[in-house]
């Protein structure tokens, strides 16, 4: 039981070191994969400081989870590591082995510089803080 690191901080890099070929405008797209893409279930709730997004990503680790913010698209990608050793024969399968992927468009009301994320017991928690009032208002006019 890995209780040594009960909580892991996941660094958020704004469009730095994307492992996938850069899609630029089509940032939400994933390249064709042999492994199935799994859409993780999420909860979103709001608080006075901002939104909290929680995603079930069982099997995801700090090493294989990538959270990217490119332009206004926040994307979550993680690889599900096989729970059985090589050569083990599946006799009953309820969850596929694939890659987690989900992406979201953030409005300008989110303060992108202060987004934080935490991974614990297979649950990713992303906090999306509210931008200050002045900034939000300016964006409102623009859109």
């Amino acid at each position: 039981m890995s209780e040594a690191h009960p909580s892991i901080r996941v660094p958020l890099g704004p469009s730095s070191t994307p492992p996938a070929p850069s899609g630029d405008a089509a940032a939400g797209e994933v390249p064709p994969l042999a492994r199935p893409t799994i859409t993780p279930p999420i909860d979103i709730h709001d608080g006075p400081e901002g939104l909290t997004l929680e995603a079930d990503l069982p099997g995801a680790t700090e090493e294989n989870l990538i959270i990217q913010l490119e332009h206004n698209v926040l994307s979550l990608d993680a690889r599900l590591v096989a729970p059985a050793p090589e050569g083990a024969r599946p006799i009953h399968q309820e969850f596929p082995l694939g890659d987690y992927h989900r992406s979201f468009i953030l409005s300008d009301d989110v303060d992108r510089e202060r987004i934080t994320a935490e991974l614990k017991n297979g649950v990713l928690k992303v906090f999306l803080p509210k931008a200050d009032r002045a900034r939000a208002r300016r964006i409102e006019i623009k859109s």
Binding site: A60, N121, G122
Partner: protein
């Protein structure tokens, strides 16, 4: 769930919803199936002389999962609680399973309960279930009557 009007006009979720709907259509052809799946999903493997059971139980700590093995049945039980201090009406989206759950799996063979071991890492429970000595395959001659 909630209307578009939301406290003082800050509503980034508007965009969230639209985007998610779009993504579901393009990337998740089994969207309707996602919500009827059982919790926790379980995979079973055979590796040599043992069974390997893997269950995806995100959000629970190891001591919150009850595991019982008897002969050839494995029972998993627990409760997934919502984070405290969050009001129901502050949820913009709720897709994750919460509440009490239990699963019972019957294995094809008896296992040696004393040799069962389990570990719980990153929301995945892995149980190693070595087959009982007497449960190894035996050949039985089938005779026809008369």
């Amino acid at each position: 769930m909630t209307g578009p009007d939301w406290r003082g006009g800050w509503d980034p979720f508007h965009e969230f919803q639209r985007e998610m709907g779009r993504l579901f259509q393009s990337f998740d052809p089994f969207q309707s199936l996602r919500h009827i799946r059982t919790f926790p999903p379980i995979n079973i493997y055979v590796a040599g002389d043992e069974f390997l059971l893997a269950a995806q139980i995100p959000g629970l700590a190891p001591d919150e999962v009850e595991l019982t093995v008897t002969s050839e049945t494995v029972t998993l039980r627990g409760e997934r609680k919502r984070p405290e201090g969050i009001k129901d009406d502050s949820y913009r989206r709720q897709e994750r399973f919460m509440g009490r759950w239990s699963r019972t799996i019957t294995l094809p063979d008896r296992v040696d309960e004393s040799k069962v071991s389990a570990q719980f890492v990153d929301g995945v429970l892995t149980v190693r279930l070595p087959r009982a000595e007497g449960a190894r395959p035996r050949h039985i001659a089938v005779s026809s009557p008369s």
